[in-house]
Symmetry: C2
Subunit: 443 residues, 2 copies
Amino acid sequence: MLSERMKQKRYFLPEDEIPRQWYNIQADMPNKPMPMLDPATREPVTLEQLSEIFSVECCRQELNLTDRWIDIPEEVREKYKFYRSTPLVRAYGLEDALGTPAHIYFKNESVSPVGSHKLNSALAQAFYCKQEGVTNVTTETGAGQWGTALSYAANLFGMNAAVYQVKVSYEQKPYRRSMMQVFGAQVTPSPSMSTRAGKDILTAMPNHQGSLGTAISEAIELARTTPEKCKYTLGSTMSHVSLHQTVIGLEAEKQMEMAGEYPDIVIACFGGGSNFSGLAFPFMRHNFFDGKKTRFIAAEPSSCPKMTKGVFEYDFGDEAGYTPLIPMFTLGHKFQPANIHAGGLRYHGAGGVVSQLMKDNIMEAVDIRQTESFKAGVLFAKAEGIVPAPESCHAIAATIREAEICRQTGESKVILFNLTGHGLMDMSAYDQYLSGNLIDIDY
Amino acid sequence: MLSERMKQKRYFLPEDEIPRQWYNIQADMPNKPMPMLDPATREPVTLEQLSEIFSVECCRQELNLTDRWIDIPEEVREKYKFYRSTPLVRAYGLEDALGTPAHIYFKNESVSPVGSHKLNSALAQAFYCKQEGVTNVTTETGAGQWGTALSYAANLFGMNAAVYQVKVSYEQKPYRRSMMQVFGAQVTPSPSMSTRAGKDILTAMPNHQGSLGTAISEAIELARTTPEKCKYTLGSTMSHVSLHQTVIGLEAEKQMEMAGEYPDIVIACFGGGSNFSGLAFPFMRHNFFDGKKTRFIAAEPSSCPKMTKGVFEYDFGDEAGYTPLIPMFTLGHKFQPANIHAGGLRYHGAGGVVSQLMKDNIMEAVDIRQTESFKAGVLFAKAEGIVPAPESCHAIAATIREAEICRQTGESKVILFNLTGHGLMDMSAYDQYLSGNLIDIDY
């Protein structure tokens, strides 16, 4: 006879329950995000200015503060069906390993073709670009999750992709580069000598290891200096990216209902905010309107703690200062993050929307050391069979902290976290951890 | 408006439709497989002899020629629910890329926690070992798919695992080793100096690159020379392994029915026969009894073509001659396969059951060169978003050959192939292919 706890449960939605609309939290926020500013005039940026680098439709979504629901184009939703719904999993194995009365669930975004949640926005952005006649797209990538997603999506819609990958990740994770190349993308380690921004940085700092901020500068410059059919795309921070990612939380809402529970705590790792937003925003609206008291916790690395140790101010999104000024929690756009393995979290700032939510105490943040994150990742892998991405390990570590509190208090809180991606291309990081050679680098 | 062909379809089974029994083809074969023989006496091996190295229950299954259906233990079926049913996918993207009227489906076993079909048998074997009081299990692995599966399953049931990994794969695929270690296994490159068999080979051939045959010898020796609570487990060739893998085909049968089609051709890559058997056997019974005329094609590497260029005879399953004599298509148990990237197909022989089916013309075989396999893999990755394991690339290449014939004849044949695993830990092989440095090595 099997006990109920031996039965790991996965919840899927039928195809016709996959969301048809994204949730635009900007319509519902108690305080709207402050506008992005043109650095020259300090006036709010216009649709025209933004759409010089991004697809027009993404810019419209970016500036849309009123429509709560935005239709998912049918072409995008059909591509979502390649891998969605992603499973919601009750993590009985992890609960048992921790001996906690907490009920732990995770949304498994690692099952997407490219191995992470990033595809949710890459498909949308690539579709809009294609629809607007774009032939070439470019972007930055840290760990490579976003770059892989964009490479795949661009290929799917018949466009070329050029990806600037943060140099330290390019070297730490060669398999990610290969995967982007399999999908036909051109991949360049950043900083590179192929852009003015890259050259300037390398001239000043020949051993610069790269950062997301620098890679963004290079990609924006490429988009600006290439004939008009090249657009820039971004994997996090902006509100249209968060919008696309809400498909995660909207599915999770229905799946938690199938499980007969509602989360007391929602946890996600935090780089610029894309997966956090995607999982948390749909649940936040029930805090706004339905009296729910869910806690939302962003788990960031202790070496790059913009939410817990940064300041809220207008700052650039990139190293060279090509972006508009963004109202954000930031460590400064010249900040050079340490070379932790969670390359996707090595970003100096948070998006404008999440920054406002943080300022308004609608969410909280914790910082996690690298060794704590990998310890959590190995425990999870043994308990649930999935080797998590180093980024996701931060969410697992934060989940374990909350589950430990439950163990002490005896409370059966319902915790939901986002498993953003698998770590199959990060095994060298696990090697380093298992051999005792991983170090902690605090801010 | 979307055309029907833009809609990739995935078919899942509800949890209560996951099979409750495996299919034992030995009960239904027109000619039963010839018995394994004790090499000393040339008498059929007994249950007692076999169970010196394997779990008793697996040996019972191995020798069971009469029961068509074998119950899946509830504990194993519960673990299957972690990842099963695996999706059956209509590969519209691949069809479009080929311009073929064929209807192509694949069974996506790459979604298992360990990334391949191997877990289907690892869970069963680990469970039986545990039930019989075993504390330590050991095995060989080539590419690392089986070793990873056993490492995970052993950890899940609270046992220690020791894995001998073929040296060339150990070096080509370091991430696989790391993954086994994350699951707590001890991994040794084979041939090693830790066994008599390994020492003998290294003394004679100091640069021996390893083979599955050699690694099997080492693992069997470890099981035999370790106190009684250590058992050997095997990832392919034997009929109990094929039996466990039939969960693939039994699911696929129901899923093809959901799709409203029945396969004209079933294709799987071929190392020792485990995934081929798993997908094909359940469909074969309809050839036996229901007048179906499905073709079954094993796709093997041209560098290790036991089915197309081997001979049918009694041979050992391992290099040192520790196994019983097995009736098999074989290239000789001393054969040293070339260092192709599809490490899981580098085995000199086929299992006894599939060998008999081959001899009786119930199935066919083709051989595929390494470059053709990777060309197929890249095409598939771009079309379907999944980077396939080098082994699976052989099945894809054979599928493409058949789809090309359909393109020429205009026939809409229904082709079903097994996507045994993902290639995320084999990206160095893709690198080599994309840079033009991959070579073909024929037998």
